[in-house]
Symmetry: C2
DNA sequence: GATAGTTTCATACAAGTGTTTGAATTGCAA
DNA sequence: TTGCAATTCAAACACTTGTATGAAACTATC
């Protein structure tokens, strides 16, 4: 087994570079330079570049999902099997938002890497990603228990919109800051979480009447 | 000037391929094969690959923005300088959603290309993209006129969330279909537009009291 | 129909990619 | 220390990328 030092140095360097610059333009040579190891080390320890990426993604994927599920489980147990919708949504988007936003120095490389992965979708990751659906289904289930009177379609749309707001805010955080001339404070993570959860909750609990077909406004 | 046939064949082929497979793995050789022209034609007509991408993006960018602004202008004139917030939001997200969703055969390559561009952010595009902010600012202005009692920060967040829901829904449409087992009908574009507009409107018009700090729910 | 300018083409080039190789070095057990 | 496996390393490999070249084909004007 030996030191494993090289192995983890590669993992750390690769994750950092991918998180910062995306998969598109990070080469093996960039990674080994950052890690301070020899070029051949990647193929020796991981077999191929794709397997390195896959290992990175799988590791982080189960971590993130575990964290989200832990929050969800705790909430549902507190409520005797039924958690308030706000808390469910918070468990869904909170961990990722907290990892990717906030003061620069405390942003987690892991979370930023996962966002990259959710954006760029390079082949080795795309193959794995289908399992994510099973994970989301657990949240959909919890949401249905929290809002039993709500139609399934509305639940899925609410879930979709919650993820949309969280991910987009992270991905376009720079643009939002520039657009608002700094007025939107993305370092106040808990405020961002609260905003996303609040809007998603409204989407899910708004007046039943307009559920299937929200009020159409005449175009133009 | 001659035929220009080769030029436009390249543009069309490139747009189609980029829209389908992303910038990451579409080579010049793929493009010329699809266009049925010689490899050197790209450099002859456009100078370089990056300039080809840039031209594609600039063309589509002004088209999309013009379409959105046309809807916005018309709405504001109808209302004597102040349009209902729903109509503004519809002008913002409608064109893109209509171009990217709906029955497969009527999805516009142009819109799908723009979504790719908004996701992958390859260098030649990134350089141009900053002008997008000026465009969004016009919508922010219209929204502020529609909701003068609302704080600027809330306006920007609402704008951000509206774009978030629209783009994310397009990008992850496949996953949403699979997750909901087809229950969410993404071919019914007008329903999708209505849902996005409805939620964004709620986000922007929800009870004033909880504006700055939406109700916090105890975590876990 | 000859000629000049434009456009196409096959081909070559330089640079960069992930991967492989085989020799050197290391670390550890006998 | 000796011996052997695990690891590191420099170098080369095979391949793909975008771009450049110079000859060929075409087009239109005189």
């Amino acid at each position: 087994m030996a030191s494993d030092h090289t192995r983890s140095a590669i993992l750390a360097a690769a994750e950092r570079l991918y998180a910062d610059r995306g998969f598109g333009d990070v080469t093996l040579r960039d990674i080994v330079a950052e890690a301070g190891v020899n070029l051949a080390a990647v193929n020796y320890h991981f077999g191929s570049k794709d397997e390195l990426i896959a290992e990175l993604f799988v590791t982080r994927s189960v971590q993130t999902n575990r964290e989200r599920l832990r929050e969800l489980k705790a909430a549902e147990e507190d409520g005797g099997g039924r958690a308030p919708i706000e808390v469910i949504l918070r468990a869904l988007v909170g961990p990722t938002l907290r990892g990717c936003l906030g003061p620069e120095n405390q942003r987690s490389t892991a979370a930023r890497f996962m966002i990259r992965a959710s954006i760029e979708s390079v082949p080795p990751i795309r193959r794995i990603k289908n399992r994510e659906i099973d994970h989301l289904r657990k949240f959909a289930g919890a949401m249905r228990r929290a809002l039993p009177e709500r139609s399934e379609v509305d639940i899925y749309w609410g879930l979709n919109f919650a993820l949309a707001m969280a991910h987009h805010t992270i991905r376009e955080s720079e643009r939002l800051t520039k657009l608002s001339e700094g007025k939107c404070d993305l370092d106040d993570v808990e405020d961002v979480v609260a905003r996303v959860v609040s809007v998603a909750t409204m989407a899910l609990t708004a007046g039943r009447a307009e559920t299937k077909a929200p009020p159409r406004v005449a175009a133009r």
